[in-house]
């Protein structure tokens, strides 16, 4: 969910690695990010694309959430990611749900609650600390 810079890159890598990949985004134009450099479309490459808002359960179902093994929430909105990730985890019982959370404090707390969170901000802080030679 969320075909921005992060989501689309992960989607393409996953597809290339042989996974079946379905992308959900509310912006139809985000589809362009999924095009291959050779002019091959995302669908030609075997990918799926659904336009819709993930808070609408119908969109999730249309995108195939019911048979998903992994769900990645990678929109630029922490609140959207956290909400939808929990819905997918609890309602559709997807085995692995990974959620992007910019806010490091909430990423840590939700991780304690059993959500797989990735905080780019946390990583950036650690990189800067390393660059400065400060031990975390």
């Amino acid at each position: 969910m969320g075909a921005g810079r992060v989501g689309s890159a992960v989607a393409k890598r996953a597809l290339a690695a042989g996974y079946e990949v379905s992308v959900l985004d509310e912006d139809p134009l985000s589809h362009e990010r999924l095009e291959e450099s050779g002019g091959r479309t995302w669908e030609d490459a075997g990918g799926m694309f659904t336009v819709g808002t993930a808070l609408e359960v119908d969109s999730l179902i249309e995108a195939g959430v019911q048979r998903a093994d992994v769900f990645i929430a990678s929109t630029d909105g922490d609140n959207t990611n956290l909400t939808v990730a929990q819905i997918v985890q609890r309602r559709f019982e997807v085995g692995k749900v990974v959620c992007r959370v910019m806010d490091p404090a909430r990423a840590a707390w939700y991780a304690e609650q059993g959500l797989d969170t990735i905080s780019p901000t946390r990583h950036a802080i650690e990189m800067f600390e390393q660059a400065l030679g400060i031990d975390a």
């Binding site: 808070l55 359960v57 609140n79 909400t83 819905i87 707390w109």
Partner: protein, 221 residues
Amino acid sequence: MYVIIVGAGKVGLNLARELIDKGHEVTLLESDRRRYLVVESELGHVVQYGDATELWVLERAGVQRTDLVIAVTGDDEDNMLVCQVAKEKYVCERVIARVNNPRNLQHFKLLGIQPVVSATDLILRLIEHEVPRYGLVHLLALEEERLEIIELEVQAGAPAAGRRVTEVELPQGSLVISVLRNGTGFVPTAETVVEAGDQVLLVLDAGLEDKITPVFSHPAD
């Protein structure tokens, strides 16, 4: 009582005014700078600027000692997550969330956010109350307590019509609490006779509606 209100829009601001009038301690949180400044000119330090989905903003507002968190922003995701964090991380016993889009109600339930207030639903219920098309109106559902309050119109020829309240055969777990007749309501005594055309209010255990409706409906219906 100490109350944190999240979202200083029309709902949040008026709620804050009411609660302050009633003598409660209130902190209002608003994440839009311009809206914050408008509200701050009226309420001063009662309103704090910040995004309440961030933990430190809630902590600064004193979420650890609050009795009640009310999330009434225009964004359902924000309302859901603020309540979830208040309840589960800061062990705030009471949270109330506003649902903007009734379709999101299922998500609030899934995340265990209770109770919720949906303006759309309230307006729908008012319409049902004023324009009783469906016969039975759900006025209030206390889901945790598994109780409901419903309103029914007594139809001519119904088993209950013309009988005293004590003689009306109701299933266990239900009680007539009020009768509305000619535009006024009253609490019935044992001697009150239920008449066709009355609206009766009943409190009942959840799920008993189907057994109660026939008592007040015409048998042919």
